[in-house]
């Protein structure tokens, strides 16, 4: 048996030798003519020989620069890359992540069909829906649920009407991509199998319950830690406002060219775990939920962003100030040419403000934008800011 990493090293070493010669690369040398109003600095190009014999393509580039020449950048100019590429899930499946953990579930599972008013349809639960309190809607005994939350995630359903006595679950030590974790399963009173995978070096877990034990095992087997999830969203909250400061990319100029969007939601309250809100009111630093937005949902989202009115900074004083600003959602708008534009939604105290980097001022978001986000990102349950636990 071969170790994959050794195989990669061997493959790269072997393939590197497919390249046995290098071309005669060229770089410029500057040369000035006597200056005048219309004179130009012309760069002359000198060919550089590689260490081995010259063969193949010789690339020559000539550039004429008007005097005075622009100062050369001291560092490579890199576009801001807050959100990564979308990684498609295998056919028939969807990738869902939260708190740096991603699982694969069938593509027909609903998102956050949980808590009050839930149906019997299979669902994956993440984000704010995990931390919701009790509800009088019992979880159907035939329902399949996969839930991503904090390490203290309960692996059994606890609606008020359920028997809260759960069978013990024996956890065994496992590793997932080299990370230490615990995993186990047990049979619930309603006959479903419940499974739990919990990381011991991190505050994240996934719990699954289903009639078919194979479903539980398959979902737990798919769990992987991610730094960037399949929607391209970072598991750790980015400092988006700082990163976009000075950006020249205007997200509002090319809304009609948006092909897809990723929405990365970072909750402002610790609502993805069943724990009280911290006294300091610290914003959650982890990704709560994410989604790739296409089709009609994308049209609604783009229309909502397009409908924002930018103007003077609104009055954000209110009786309940929270730490501000904290990005609540980073929306990555992907254009047809592959470039990405960003819109950041942040909460200040009692309101939400939308930042478009090149806009000198802000817009207080309208309900249309938040409704568009709620219907796509949060789904199932209407989004609400969780109140601090007593």
């Amino acid at each position: 048996m071969t170790d994959l990493e050794d195989l990669l090293r061997e493959t790269f070493r072997e393939r590197g030798h497919d390249v046995s010669t290098a071309p005669a690369y060229t770089v410029p040398s500057a040369s000035r003519r006597p200056s005048g109003p219309a004179s130009a600095v012309r760069r002359f190009w000198r060919p550089l020989l590689a260490a081995t014999a010259v063969a193949g393509v010789i690339t020559v580039v000539a550039v004429a620069v008007d005097e005075p020449p622009s100062p050369a950048p001291s560092e490579p100019v890199q576009p801001v890359a807050l959100v990564g590429d979308v990684s498609p899930a295998p056919p028939g499946q969807q990738a869902v992540s939260s708190r740096g953990l991603e699982i694969l579930v069938p593509e027909d599972w609903l998102i956050n069909d949980f808590h009050c008013g839930q149906s019997a349809a299979p669902t994956v639960v993440r984000g704010h829906a995990v931390g919701l309190g009790d509800c009088y809607t019992p979880e159907p005994a035939e329902k399949t649920v996969a839930m991503i939350g904090g390490a203290d995630l309960a692996w059994y359903p606890i609606p008020l009407t359920d028997d809260r006595t759960a069978p013990p679950i024996e956890l065994r030590a496992v590793t997932v991509d080299g990370r230490p974790a615990e995993r186990g399963q047990a049979v619930l009173a309603d006959g479903r199998t419940a499974g739990l995978l919990r990381f011991t070096d991190d505050d994240v877990a996934v719990a699954v319950r289903a009639i078919d034990p194979a479903t539980v095992a398959t979902v737990l087997d798919s769990a992987r830690p991610v730094g960037l999830d399949s929607a391209g969203c970072p598991a750790e909250r980015p400092d988006a406002l700082a990163a976009l400061a000075g950006s020249t990319d205007d997200p509002l100029a090319e809304l009609d060219e948006v092909q897809t969007a990723s929405v990365c939601s970072y909750p402002l309250v610790d609502a993805t775990v069943r724990r009280p809100f911290t006294e300091a009111g610290e914003a959650e630093h982890r990704l709560g939920s994410s989604i790739v937005v296409e089709g009609e949902a994308l049209e609604r989202l783009v229309a909502a962003i397009d409908g924002l009115s930018f103007g003077a900074r609104p009055d954000l004083s209110c009786a309940d100030p929270r730490p501000a600003p904290e990005e609540e959602a980073v929306i990555a708008l992907r254009l047809g040419d592959g470039s990405v534009r960003y819109v950041v939604v942040a909460a200040y105290g009692c309101g939400r403000v939308v930042f478009a980097p090149t806009q000198p001022t802000f817009a207080r978001e309208g309900s249309q934008l938040w409704e568009a986000l709620a219907r796509t990102v949060y789904q199932g349950v209407t989004y609400q800011l969780a109140d601090p636990a007593p």
């Binding site: 090293r9 290098a22 991509d177 830690p225 991610v226 592959g338």
Partner: protein, 163 residues
């Protein structure tokens, strides 16, 4: 001979190989290196030689490659045609390496970049993070995901030892 001339004379081939492993296409690799050398020359002219010129050029190559891939159509796939070669290895071993090379095209550009930096350049995650401008945790998780994609290949998985 200037600094950059010396760099190209002594390391041009190595840089080309690196870029080739990154993108899987010889012509694109040469274009990346040429572009990186031009940027490096501009920096050399304005602020002096970078502390580690070759590392700087590699960084520019990687970032330029990832930047270009973001600007391309999402449906475009770089496919490398492995040349025929004689090998002294057992046929099975050579087939595995060929399979790995082909499966690398399934990876996202940033995933492939992390693997090249880790398993060809032998950089640790902190160094890779510095090259890409990422958090170290993102490097780890990206590598993990890339390896998972390769391990999921039904042909490779038969011959690979799993932890």
């Amino acid at each position: 001979m200037t600094g950059i001339e010396h760099l190209v004379a002594t390391r041009g081939l190595a840089l080309t190989r690196f870029a080739y492993l990154l993108c899987g296409d010889r012509r694109l690799a040469e274009d990346l290196v040429q572009s990186a050398l031009e940027r490096t020359f501009l920096r050399w002219e304005s602020t002096g030689s970078p502390d580690r010129p070759e590392a700087y050029v590699r960084q520019v190559i990687v970032r330029e490659h990832l930047s270009r891939r973001r600007r391309r159509s999402s449906t475009e796939v770089v496919v490398a045609d492995p040349p025929e070669r004689a090998t002294a290895d057992e046929p099975a071993a050579a087939d595995e390496r060929d399979r790995v090379w082909r499966q690398l095209t399934r990876l996202a550009p940033h995933q492939r970049a992390v693997l090249v930096l880790r398993y060809y350049e032998d950089l640790d995650d902190a160094a890779i993070a510095a090259v890409l401008g990422w958090p170290a945790g993102t490097v780890r998780s990206t590598a993990s995901r890339a390896l998972a994609v390769l391990r999921a290949d039904p042909v490779l998985s038969r011959g690979i030892r799993h932890d």
